[in-house]
Subunit: 94 residues, 2 copies
């Protein structure tokens, strides 16, 4: 199992649009066979810090996800609403 | 429910000691009434990036955790093994 934490900082005026589009990505990603968890979290102090926490079965599942139609169509649009590039870490649980 | 992501960057030579001490913190924290999840994750590319992902019932549970004997005795020791301060975010799931 691999856990991904993908932290974004979103332009204030785009927060609602970002969340709506992220929800589309989440809905489609959860349908993928290798997806164990995929949710969006909002910082309680800084509303424009929005972080995905995901769990995937293995590296192959992540590769398929990154090549999926929903990923390749939605993620670039989310990127346009961000203050800076997403901070992504792939983790194994100890 | 509040999710905490606490990301640390640990001095290379201290990784094993850090993990052992973190496991003590995890064991004790999981005994707390308001703790729903408390685990340590290691970055698959950078072994010295070690991140706690925690879930707490509410703010009061986090307050009690921060005042607990295991937190106040172990967290400063973990801090001495880090390259920089822990990056902490408190999140609500959307």
């Amino acid at each position: 199992m691999i856990t991904i934490v993908a932290k974004t900082v979103v332009i204030e005026s785009e927060i609602e649009t970002f969340i709506n589009l992220a929800n589309e990505l989440i809905t489609e990603s959860k349908k993928e066979a290798g997806c164990r968890e995929y949710n969006l979290y909002q910082d309680t102090e800084n509303k424009n810090v929005l972080t995905f926490i995901e769990k995937w079965e293995d590296e192959e599942a992540i590769k398929l996800h990154n090549e999926s139609a929903h990923f390749t169509s939605i993620v670039p649009k989310l990127g346009e609403m961000q203050v800076k590039d997403t901070e992504v870490n792939l983790y194994k649980q100890l």
